[in-house]
Amino acid sequence: MDRRAFLRLVSYGCLAAAGLAPRSIFAAQGQERQRPIQFTFAQLKYRGGDWNPHALAVGPLLEELMQRTSVEAATTRREVALNDPELFSYPFLYISGKYDFEPFTGEEVDTLRRFLSYGGFLLADDALGQPGYGFDQSFRREIKRIFPDKDFTRIPAGHPAMRSFYLLRKIGGARMVHPYVEGINVGPSTPVMYCQNDLGGAWEKDQLGNWVNQCTPGGEEQRRDAFHLGINLILYAMTENYKDDLIHVPFIRRRLAR
């Protein structure tokens, strides 16, 4: 149950206790269970390494997403492999890890290439944060197999992903390996975004609602930036270059100038 539903349930409970609750409330509860889901956070499972370094990271992010934006999201993540027939039901894909992982098979490379070339989005999160080692080395190797003629480039501050909801000025994470996000551009869009700051580490809470990891060196502000980046990237995946539309440009320019 998300925070919004929880608060609603508590308030309805209080009203019911006072004998003031209308009968429709309980019908609404039934509908809530049937609420429309527009977004499912899918995490990629792969062979070797550690595909799930922060098992509790996604929930807080999705809670934050629903609290801040109009996106209705599934509260739990979906775990998918590249050979999962349901892979293309989840255009947003998250890959994380710390260590080396096995190369994708040729068919998996083709599948991911099609996924990314026709509207899918991949957010990669290096939980180790060691450039050139572990996850970083394996992920860059696989992306090179998928897009042999493309290289990662730094995502500039003016990129629509950096302003899809928040006007991001800083990149967060559990640690600060790079003050930027990298990406692979395909045509006018950027279907692959790669952060080495361990975003999942910053998002993760334990069962009791406590942060699992410290964010260094920036502390809670750095954590907040990690959430903002996560939300922005989800909205970017769902709206593409929407914030590059001419109608937005003067507004955003004015706000950035302040």
Binding site: Q34, R35, P36, I37, Q38, F39, Q67, R68, T69, S70, V71, E72, P85, L87, F88, S89, P91, R114, F115, Y118, G119, G120, R163, S164, F165, Y166, L167, P188, R224, H228, I234, L235, A237, M238, T239, E240, N241, Y242, K243, D245, I247, H248, F251, I252, R255, R258
Partner: protein, 743 residues
């Protein structure tokens, strides 16, 4: 006249050797005779023998004699007199060009036409767009009424069967406007070109070569190029007016700084309204102008949308929006303005507004001002309830009523779930709402074509009917649906659960006022793009569906249900023109027995009603015979059982194929060119007289004499005479030898 010739039986070198041998023998003989008889007697004897040898060598060359006798003939001459309309233009004397020609040929005691009849085998023709024989005595009755001058073509025709050594004399002002207006290839026989008219006294101001685009785009400037020509008006400055309908758009001064003046002028205009628009350019008629009609030009430009302007309002970020946007953005003919509501009023943000990229939704600006500038509006899982008063939807209704396109896509905020049953859009949408329809999740339904869907352009993903059905069967199932009460318009797709052949309406289209509407009862069609890619199929079906839907909603001509077949080429006044109009039902099957209203709108706005006859199911024919030249528009509007089906219009031009009254300036240079290329002669009409005709005749004789030559060949060798001559010389030598005691 006799002429010697040699047939030659032996090679020259053989004859040369024989000649040398003969010389050697003569020399030997002379030496021997001188010793015996002395020089005085040796010389004549040797000479006689030398003559005999010379004659033998001469006859070895097989000489002959050619006798020639020449008899003069009357040369065939085709006299062509130009009777096109331009020959009616007055010259400096006030007489028309043709009258001057007639006077020149027929006046006087010994008229030139009589002389020509005497000197030539004369055939007279008048010509304009065709050749017509004329009796020489009827030249005085000729009138300049021809609609055009096919000079080059008719010269070729006149020369084709003219006969041996024939010539053509053409009397014309040189204005040629047939297919080979610049002269083209030279005629095969000599042409004596007589130039009528005087370009020195010619006064005319003319607009020529007006080049305007057939189509323009709203909000985009188009250019019109034209040439201003002036003769005999040097030093004047004339205004050039550019009008749209009867409104003056622009004016430009043209300074005429030469006698044969020509200046290219470019005008421009940015249309703001869609539709066929009439334009004209004109310059005032100047005193003494030969032709006033060429001071004015009209043309029509069909103003279209530059790009289809599409507005999308999406209730929240969603995959349906993502893939809808992708399809619209990839289309170069669509200009997309989209608003996605990233935050609801109940969402809480953790930063000040200035750290958010959200912009306020310009409600008044969109619904009160800008909506009319869009062609299609998409309501994509969007409910007005959280954002603005329901009254704003009245503007959306008016937008559709006035010709706009509206699409509502499904979702938890659409149709009944979005509260549209209580809005102005209730009657606009092609589906009926009762406020009870629910948004259903976790369904699994495929889009199945209905009979209408199989023919409708929106759902025609590929041209072949079977391939189209196969393409639809390949698309992934949808997992969410919006319930509606029932369809009001044409249902193109049904949502069929797995294994079923039909179900509730999934895609329905309709009309409201002048506009079109579409309802797609799902927010899950993004799977037809991305899901298809996952199944290793092409995402093109989704792309085409969106593009077709936008074009159909925007009433693009290609999706019109009433289509006038392309009207091409120029039609001539008084000639019957035929128009074919195709009418299709809402499901795009041929519409038989439709009520078709066809009108032609002329230059001055006059409306002429045409009768349309159905010649096949959905195919109608209308005929129109224009009375005069000008720019016209044909409009067709069809309804069936009182329900409007659609309309179409096309522009066409009515003009004579020859622009005889366009440019009346005489063209002696063309006539000179024809005369030169054909090796004939050019004579200005003023200089046409007996002397110039005699000079021309001499030139023709030098070129190809008109005579019969008889030739007789007489061989000189092998005859009794030649044998006798040799015998005489040998006998004489024998006589001298006997006399001088050598025998």
């Amino acid at each position: 006249m006799d002429r010697l010739y040699f047939v030659g039986g032996l090679s020259w070198w053989v004859i040369g050797l024989i000649a040398l041998g003969a010389l050697a023998m003569i020399a030997y003989q002379f030496i021997g005779l001188r010793r015996r008889l002395g020089v005085r007697r040796a010389i004549p004897l040797t000479a006689l023998r030398a003559i005999v040898y010379a004659l033998l060598v001469f006859f070895l060359l097989s000489p002959g004699l050619v006798q020639t006798r020449v008899t003069k003939l009357r040369r065939p001459l085709n006299l062509l007199i130009d009777t096109s309309k331009s020959m009616s233009l007055p010259g400096p004397s006030g007489k028309s060009r043709l009258d001057t020609v007639k006077e020149k040929l027929t006046a006087g005691d010994d008229p030139l036409i009589r002389r020509l009849e005497r000197d030539y085998d004369l055939r007279v023709y008048q010509f304009n767009t065709a050749l017509a024989p004329v009796a020489p005595s009827a030249i005085a009755q000729l009138e300049a009424t021809g609609k055009g001058t096919r000079l080059a073509e008719l010269l070729t025709e006149a020369g084709r069967d003219a006969g041996a050594n024939a010539a053509i004399m053409v009397v014309s002002d040189g204005i040629a406007n047939g297919e080979g207006r610049t002269g083209g290839a030279a005629p095969q026989i000599p042409v004596i070109a007589v130039g009528a008219g005087d370009s020195k006294g010619y006064v005319d101001l003319r607009l020529a070569d007006v080049t305007a685009p057939e189509f323009g785009f709203r909000g985009r400037e188009f250019k019109v190029d034209l040439i201003v020509q002036a003769y005999g008006l040097a030093g004047k400055t004339v205004p050039l007016y550019f009008n749209r309908g009867k409104s003056l758009i622009a004016t430009k001064d043209v300074k005429i700084d030469g006698d044969a003046f020509e200046q290219r002028v470019t005008l421009s205009y940015m249309p703001k309204e869609i539709g066929a628009q009439s334009f004209s350019v004109n310059v005032p008629v100047q005193p003494g102008e030969a032709i006033a009609d060429n001071n004015h030009k009209e043309f029509k430009v069909e103003v279209r949308r530059d790009k289809l302007r599409v507005l999308t309002l999406s209730g929240s970020p969603a995959w349906n929006y993502r893939f809808l946007r992708m399809a619209l953005k990839q289309d170069p003919f669509i200009d997309l303005v989209s608003f996605v509501f990233l935050r609801t009023p109940t969402d809480v943000v953790d930063v000040p507004d200035n750290q958010l990229s959200l912009i306020p939704f310009p409600i008044d600006e969109i619904f009160l001002e800008e909506i009319k500038n869009f062609d299609v509006v998409f309501l994509d899982d969007f409910s007005y309830r959280s954002y603005f008063n329901v009254m704003y939807l009245d503007r959306v209704r008016d937008f559709v009523r006035d010709g706009g396109g509206l699409a509502m896509l499904g979702g938890a905020r659409s149709f009944d779930s979005g509260g549209y049953a209580d809005s102005a859009l209730r009657d606009v949408l092609p589906v009926e709402l009762d406020g009870k329809g629910r948004y259903q999740m976790d369904t699994r339904a495929r889009g199945v074509l209905t009979a209408s869907g199989k023919a409708h352009p929106i759902t025609r993903l590929v041209p072949d009917a079977q391939a189209n059905e196969d393409a639809w069967k390949k698309l992934p199932p949808l997992k969410s649906l919006n319930q509606i009460l029932r369809a009001r318009g044409e249902t193109l797709l049904q949502a069929a659960p797995e294994g079923a052949s039909g179900g509730q309406p999934l895609l329905t289209v309709g009309r409201y006022g002048k506009g079109r509407t579409l309802a797609l009862m799902s927010d899950d069609i993004w799977r037809w793009s991305f899901g298809a890619v996952g199944a290793k199929e092409s995402p093109q079906s989704h792309l085409k569906l969106i593009r077709h839907a936008v074009r159909w909603l925007a009433q693009e001509p290609m999706f019109e249900q009433v289509q006038i077949q392309p009207v091409s080429g120029v039609r001539a006044p008084a000639e019957k023109s035929e128009f074919i109009i195709q009418v299709l039902n809402d499901d795009y099957t041929p519409a038989a027995h439709a009520n078709l209203k066809v009108e032609v709108i002329g230059n001055e706005g006059e409306q002429i009603r045409l009768e349309a006859v159905e010649q096949a199911a959905g195919e109608y024919r209308a005929e129109f015979t224009p009375a005069k030249e000008g720019a016209y528009r044909i409009e067709a509007q069809a309804d069936l059982g009182g329900k409007a089906i659609g309309r179409d219009n096309k522009n066409f031009t009515v003009a004579f194929p020859y622009a005889e009254a366009e440019d009346g300036r005489p063209r002696p240079e063309l006539l000179k060119d024809i005369a030169e290329k054909s090796k004939g002669d050019f004579i200005p009409l003023a200089e046409l007289n007996a002397a110039s005709l005699a000079r021309a005749a001499e030139k023709l004789d030098r070129l190809a004499p008109a005579e019969i030559v008889e030739r007789r060949e007489i061989p000189l060798w092998g005859t009794l005479t030649t044998f006798s001559i040799i015998l005489v010389f040998l006998s004489l030598e024998w006589w001298f030898r006997r006399k001088w005691g050598l025998i």
